[in-house]
């Protein structure tokens, strides 16, 4: 049933976010640490469990696939609710700081990607 997929997805997200909150508390920061990441790993783990225990039916997969397909529309809605005015109208310093951070971070991607893929071959 479709709801099984949606429920499984909900279970993974709630558990992940809960663990992320606990992790944040443990290291003493007021933020969720990796909650969504944990949820993703949990979903991957549960959906890859061998068929001995349980396997996901096609309809169950559709329940997850629907939300995966809704990702882009949700991101479009997210873009439409951003506080763009605050970003643009707060003066040059904030804009320069934001832009510079992005430019430098973009530039680092190829550098780190090379290091990473080099070390993979050593493994």
């Amino acid at each position: 049933m479709v709801i099984y997929g949606v429920a499984l997805l909900s279970f993974c997200m709630l558990v992940g976010v809960y663990i992320g909150d606990i992790l944040g508390d443990l290291i003493g920061v007021q933020a969720n640490v990796g909650g969504v990441g944990v949820a993703m790993l949990l979903l991957l783990y549960l959906s890859n469990l061998s068929s001995r225990k349980f396997s996901l039916g096609d309809l169950t997969k559709k329940g997850i696939g629907f939300w995966s397909a809704m990702y882009i529309p949700i991101v479009v809605a997210m873009a439409a609710k951003q506080n763009v005015v605050a970003a643009i109208s707060s003066g040059w310093m904030a804009i320069v700081a934001g832009v510079a951070a992005v430019v430098v971070s973009f530039a680092m991607i190829p550098v780190l990607a090379k290091i990473g893929s080099g070390s993979q071959q050593d493994d």
Partner: protein, 253 residues
Amino acid sequence: MIESLYAVLEKNALITAFLFVGVLVWFSYEISARLTRGQLHGSAIAITLGLVLAYFGGQVKGGTQGIADFSLLAGVGVMGGAMFRDFAIVATAFGADLSALRQAGVVGAISVVVGVVLSFTVGAIVAVSFGYTDPVSISTIGAGAATYIVGPVTGTALGADSGVIALSVAAGLTKSVLVMVGTPLIAPRIGLNNPHAALIYGGLMGTTSGVAGGLAATDPKLVPYGAMTATFYTGVGCLLAPSVLYLLVRAIF
């Protein structure tokens, strides 16, 4: 007649948002196909249009929720809020390449720490070059260049001036908007076309909304990898910025 239509749309806000976003996405894909012959991805156009609408909404309504401040479109705020965003991000992991994600471990951790330190440093340098000299303000603005959550968390922890905290939020917002719009344009030049690069990208950029939007507009298949590492960024930022990084700034100034 019109009033009762408004009432229906307002009462069913989330459904109205589905319709609104659906039309917006359709319109964007039409532009992509007809005016740019698919060169510019439809989702990139849709996200950019969303940001333009958000600007318009903010100008007209003076609120903080972009287009969602119009009562007719309040549902867009729910649909685009953190709850549905995270739910959809988790769903994208379904069908992701498990072995590619497993590699996230070391490279991902390095990229998150490098990303936080890098953005913080750049933000701090900008703050200094704009005339800030006290370590608390410099650190708060540096933290804001990480994400718009790390900024206020750091500023509050260090007791920064509320104006400086507002600036740090604005720096983070600028970053997330630019990542959304800029990623599809820069992706071919920086080799952002495989899961490995997406992991690093997520860790370096860190802004969940920016990464979510940027990868959606570049290649939706890469979303789970970038989102996986980005999800650790704000936490690591909140950990490092008010502590180690602040102490470093204080040692220099």
